[in-house]
């Protein structure tokens, strides 16, 4: 039975890809596209883990299976692929290169889902390579100057990464004497081997300085491809690190420092670079880089202090799931935005996009904030020297992400992503909304999905809104500043004073009109009546003054007795 389930999980996307070669079957394949990841999803959700199936004849003795950790990575990946496939179907409906895209998409899906199921190094490497190389076609799809450049950069980094992996896995197998990933991860590998593996997977993860390919590729790829590149494939890098490195077994202090430092630089440098980007999807790409900096902090800490790994791993799995859903949601949302025709519909999508943006930026009680709080707790067992800095970096990363999200939403309006004509809007809006809702509901679902691994999340503090608020304030200030620099101070001042001037002018107009009306009436009414009005006005004024006086006195009396009891100062001294 597990064998059949595995066959279905890997064989479905692979078989559909091969079917695309038959022109007659193409319509069927596109209709079935969003069902392709479902066998893998079902296997992950309902399969009893761990299990393994040995296929002695395949490759160098291939072992496939699923364990508790791989399962936590496979579930969000399969969800993201499902949503992206649904979007791809409508996005590519009128594209003349649709078949090529579908082929690359399905091959990449096979590789991405398959690598979570691989238990031995060659099989894992095969799926990893399948995913990486076939994504070239996704990045290149538009064939624009931008896409060509991005694809060239992408394939260069992929090659470098694959070579580092070949060397790293080869050395690891040589040192371990076993092809199994579990054995490799249990062996205290030599430092060069670990460094090679880190470099190979670091490319996929996009940690600086291996990130150069990522934002352009995510920006240039069609929307459904960007969603899986960012949502699902980046996580393959993290999973590779989790599956092969002897984290928790041996300490690599030097490498740990390098990875931690790289993580910290990544978080902020990605902000600085992303804030300069104008294409909204590229901004999202930089946000992914920044988020993976957070992940790198966890890995770096575990490299320095192996004792912390037990606590860090479940948090990293949660952060990966959180980022997968939220970021893929944002990408599909950008696509949904791009295909709307009316400004009102665009505004509606923008408002909806605020939800995943807030999740990512660390809105308290939602997955981003919970993940960060849990990571802070988990790293309590990490290297003590680094802890304050890591805590600070995590806090500031919230500010950074908020700023990038603000930039993204603004740029969405200024530079609408390219979209094919005549795309059926629902095909994008529905997957986007579902992913965003899944991301929002993640803290509630996670205990059911992850079981005991969800413990750190359930116990995490709700998080503070301050980074978010600070980010929002800075974003507003930046918006004002940038506006100012664009149009000049006098223009800004005139903008600011314009409402007041308009109001003043309107009041003036009203007064003039009133005076004229009054003068007309005055001319029409008999002088006696005129006298009566003058009297009456005086009376009215007197009544009004009296009322105000009563209110003032009464109000003062009402407030006075409550004074000693109010303000409940204790509430302000919260945690």
């Amino acid at each position: 039975m597990p064998g059949l389930a595995l066959l279905a999980a890997i064989g479905t996307p692979l078989g559909l890809a091969l079917l695309l070669a038959l022109p007659a079957a193409r319509g069927l394949v596109w209709r079935a596209l969003s069902f392709a990841p479902l066998p893998a999803l079902a296997l992950a959700l309902f399969g009893t883990v761990p299990f393994t199936v040995s296929n002695d004849w395949l490759i160098l003795g291939s072992v496939l299976g699923l364990d508790a950790t791989a399962r936590l990575f496979l579930i969000p990946a399969a969800l993201v692929w499902t949503a992206a496939a649904a979007a791809a179907r409508v996005w590519m409906a009128g594209d003349r290169r649709a078949t090529g895209f579908g082929l690359c998409f399905l091959f990449a899906m096979t590789g991405n889902l398959g690598l979570f199921l691989a238990d031995d190094a060659p099989t894992f490497y095969a799926f990893f390579a399948l995913m990486s190389f076939s994504s070239y076609g996704l990045v290149l799809h538009a064939r624009s100057e931008e896409a060509l450049g991005a694809a060239r950069l992408y394939i260069a980094f992929v090659l470098a990464g694959e070579l580092a992996l070949f060397a790293g896995l080869g050395l690891a197998v040589g040192e371990t004497g076993s092809l199994m990933l579990a054995d490799i991860a249990d062996t205290a590998l030599s430092v060069p081997t670990v460094a090679l593996l880190l470099a190979g997977f670091g490319v996929k993860l996009g940690v600086m300085p291996l990130h150069f390919w990522l934002p352009p590729a995510h920006g240039a790829a069609p929307v459904p491809a960007s969603a899986v590149l960012s949502g699902a494939m980046i996580k393959a890098g993290l999973f590779g690190i989790v599956a092969t490195l002897p984290l928790g077994e041996a300490a690599y202090a030097d490498l740990g420092v390098v990875v931690t430092a790289a993580g910290m630089v990544t978080i902020f440098a990605a902000l600085l670079m992303g804030a300069r980007e104008t294409a909204p999807k590229t901004v999202l790409g930089f946000s992914s880089v920044s988020q993976m900096g957070i992940v790198a902090l966890g890995i770096g800490a575990a490299l320095m202090a192996p004792g912390a790994w037990g606590a860090v791993l479940p948090v990293l799995a949660f952060l990966a799931a959180h980022h997968a859903l939220a970021k893929a949601g944002l990408f599909l949302g950008a696509g949904a935005f791009a295909v709307q025709h009316s400004p009102a519909a665009r505004m509606a999508v923008t408002v909806a996009l605020v939800l995943p943006a807030l999740i990512l930026a660390g809105m308290p009680l939602l997955s981003g904030a919970l993940g960060k709080e849990a990571l802070k707790t988990a790293l309590g067992a990490g290297p003590a020297v680094w802890l304050p800095w890591i805590t600070l970096a995590l806090m500031l990363s919230g500010v950074a992400t908020t700023l990038l999200m603000a930039r993204f939403l603004v740029q969405l309006w200024r530079k609408r992503p390219a979209a094919p004509a005549g795309v059926e809007s629902d095909g994008l809006v529905i997957p986007f909304v579902l992913l965003a809702l899944a991301a929002a509901a993640l803290p509630a679902i996670w205990p059911t999905v992850a079981g005991s691994a969800a413990q750190p999340i359930a116990e995490a503090a709700p998080g503070t809104p301050w980074p978010l608020v600070a980010g929002a304030l800075i974003a507003t200030a930046a918006a004002v500043a940038s506006h100012t620099s664009r149009v000049g101070w006098s223009a800004v001042l005139s903008t600011l004073t314009a409402p007041a001037e308009r109001a003043a002018a309107r009041v003036g107009d009203a007064l003039v009109r009133r005076r004229r009306a009054l003068s007309r009436k005055a001319r029409a009414l008999p002088p006696a009546l005129d006298g009566w009005i003058a009297e009456h006005r005086l009376g009215q004024t007197g009544i009004a003054a009296l009322l105000v006086a009563v209110l003032v006195i009464g109000g003062a009396q009402h407030v006075a007795p409550t004074d000693p009891i109010a303000p409940p100062a204790a509430e302000q001294n919260g945690p």
Partner: protein
């Protein structure tokens, strides 16, 4: 099943006997020629399967015909011989089918198929030679039988290429003759024996043993295209596509590499070779060849020349694995002998199809050819990705074993060499794939007069061999896969040597 002690001889005679008949057939009886060609090739595959089956069940084949006292014509079917025979038999069948389509209505078909058959007979003889003397005979026969194939087109360029080819290989053959005589004089025998026959000589006269090693390797290195003896190979690219395919996959280049395997393992013995200090320089030569060939390939615009330089590089993997002197590396080397053959034959046949169907001979003309010839280009792409060493294709398996062999031999730098080579492989193959699949055909190319639909005779063979590339990689661990067979051979060689 009945036992046939003469089975190796019968296998040799299938193609050797067919050659004169094919030469004598009148030019116009095309149908008869095709039928004969295919029948013989198919019978041979069947016979080889039978031979392998018997050999795997412990039947020993050993045929000797005494020429001089102590100098025999010696045919045998050890596992190593079987491996090479099987490779040549299967690829010969495929290439024959391809040639029939390729030479349709061309001139001099009788000559072509006659020498083609002779060429394969020589390869079988080289494979099953039980001593260096027999090896030498077939090695020279191969040189002579290949020459008419290289100059088949009869153009000035072809004649020049043939001349250069002949000069290189005849000088190499002369060196091999000298080496064989020297071996006979020094060791008193030229037999291939696991563990080698040179132990006593080396103990008494190490310098002579070293000199003999250098002479033999240099002689074989000409055909194996070791730098700096590789000059003929890229020039010989003027030959028709099926000839190039066979030359690069099994016949000439592999005969050299196969000879190096025999000399290192069964004339000297790997331990002795290490003791003599000659494996180190051989590793160096192989390493230089691997990198040099790839670097030259980068600069070539002609598809076939690029493939030729790639062969220079890839065949040296075999030499490298042999010289690394460990069982794991040896598995990589022997597996690569097969894997490289299957991958390269696919690429050459695909390149031939591009030239025939679209008139595309240069890398710079390859824009959009994937759409025009999807089957051919799919086969080509699969083989190219395998060459780069991507799993789960054949090339990955041999590269993986070479890397593990390097680690096992304590030579971790081999990994760096393999990485460099893979990077260069990617650099000269991926642009072709990019052009073929991800660019649109230029308007002139789309309306070129050279465009014609290729027949199934041409279209099918590369797809079949591409299927092999996939299957022997994906099923590398299955019984009777090339890798398993290689493991079996290596167990034998290393037990014999220890």
């Amino acid at each position: 099943m009945i036992d046939m002690p003469l089975l190796p001889l019968i296998i040799l005679m299938t193609s050797l006997g067919a050659a004169p008949v094919l030469l004598a057939l009148p030019e116009r009886s095309a149908r008869l020629r095709t039928g004969l060609n295919l029948a013989v090739a198919a019978v041979k595959v069947a016979l080889v399967i039978w031979l392998a089956w018997k050999a795997a069940h412990g039947v020993v084949y050993d045929l000797r015909l005494s020429v001089l006292p102590g100098l025999d014509l010696h045919l045998q079917a050890d596992p190593l011989a079987l491996m090479f025979v099987a490779l040549s038999a299967v690829l010969w069948l495929v290439t024959t089918i391809y040639s029939v389509g390729y030479l349709e209505r061309g001139p001099h078909r009788a000559r072509f198929f006659g020498f083609f058959s002779l060429c394969v007979a020589a390869t079988v003889g080289i494979a099953m030679a039980g001593n260096l003397f027999t090896f030498l005979l077939f090695y020279e026969l191969l040189t002579l039988a290949t020459y008419p194939l290289v100059i088949h087109r009869g153009t000035a360029a072809a004649l020049r290429a043939g001349r250069i080819y002949l000069i290189y290989t005849l000088v190499g053959g002369l060196a091999l003759l000298l080496g064989t005589l020297a071996l006979w004089g020094l060791a008193g025998t030229t037999d291939f024996v696991p563990g080698g026959v040179m132990a006593e000589v080396a103990a008494e006269r190490p310098a002579a043993a070293q000199a003999l090693f250098v002479l033999l390797i240099a002689a074989l290195g000409v055909k194996a295209a070791l730098v700096p003896l590789h000059g003929w190979l890229p020039i010989a690219m003027v030959a028709p596509a099926p000839v190039s395919a066979l030359l690069h996959a099994v016949a000439v280049v592999k005969a050299g590499a196969f000879g190096i395997i025999r000399v290192v393992y069964e004339v000297f013995g790997i331990e002795l070779a290490q003791g003599l200090g000659v494996t180190g320089p051989l590793i160096a030569v192989a390493a230089v060849t691997i990198i040099y060939g790839s670097l030259r390939a980068l600069a070539q615009d002609d598809i076939k020349v690029r493939l030729a330089y790639s062969t220079v590089s890839q065949v040296s993997y075999i030499t490298l694995g042999v010289a690394l002197a460990g069982p794991v590396a040896a598995i990589g080397a022997l597996a690569h002998l097969i894997h490289q053959g299957v991958m390269k034959i696919t690429m050459f046949m695909a390149a031939g199809n591009l030239a025939e169907g679209l008139g595309v001979k240069k890398v710079s003309q390859m824009d959009g050819v994937g759409r025009a010839m999807p089957g051919t280009m799919a086969a080509f792409s699969l083989a190219a990705l395998a060459m780069i060493g991507l799993p789960p294709f054949a090339g990955f398996v041999s590269k993986w074993y070479l890397a593990q062999g390097g680690i096992a031999a304590g030579q971790d730098w081999v990994i760096a060499l393999l990485l460099g080579s893979s990077l260069l492989n990617a650099a000269y193959f991926l642009p072709l794939l990019h052009r073929a699949w991800f660019r649109d055909a230029t308007p002139e190319a789309a309306n070129a007069p050279a465009r014609r639909k290729i027949s199934l005779w041409l279209a099918a063979p590369p797809m079949v061999t591409a299927g092999f590339v996939l299957v022997i990689g994906v099923l590398a661990n299955a019984p009777f896969s090339p890798l398993e067979w290689t493991r079996f051979i290596v167990t034998r060689e290393f037990n014999g040597g220890l």
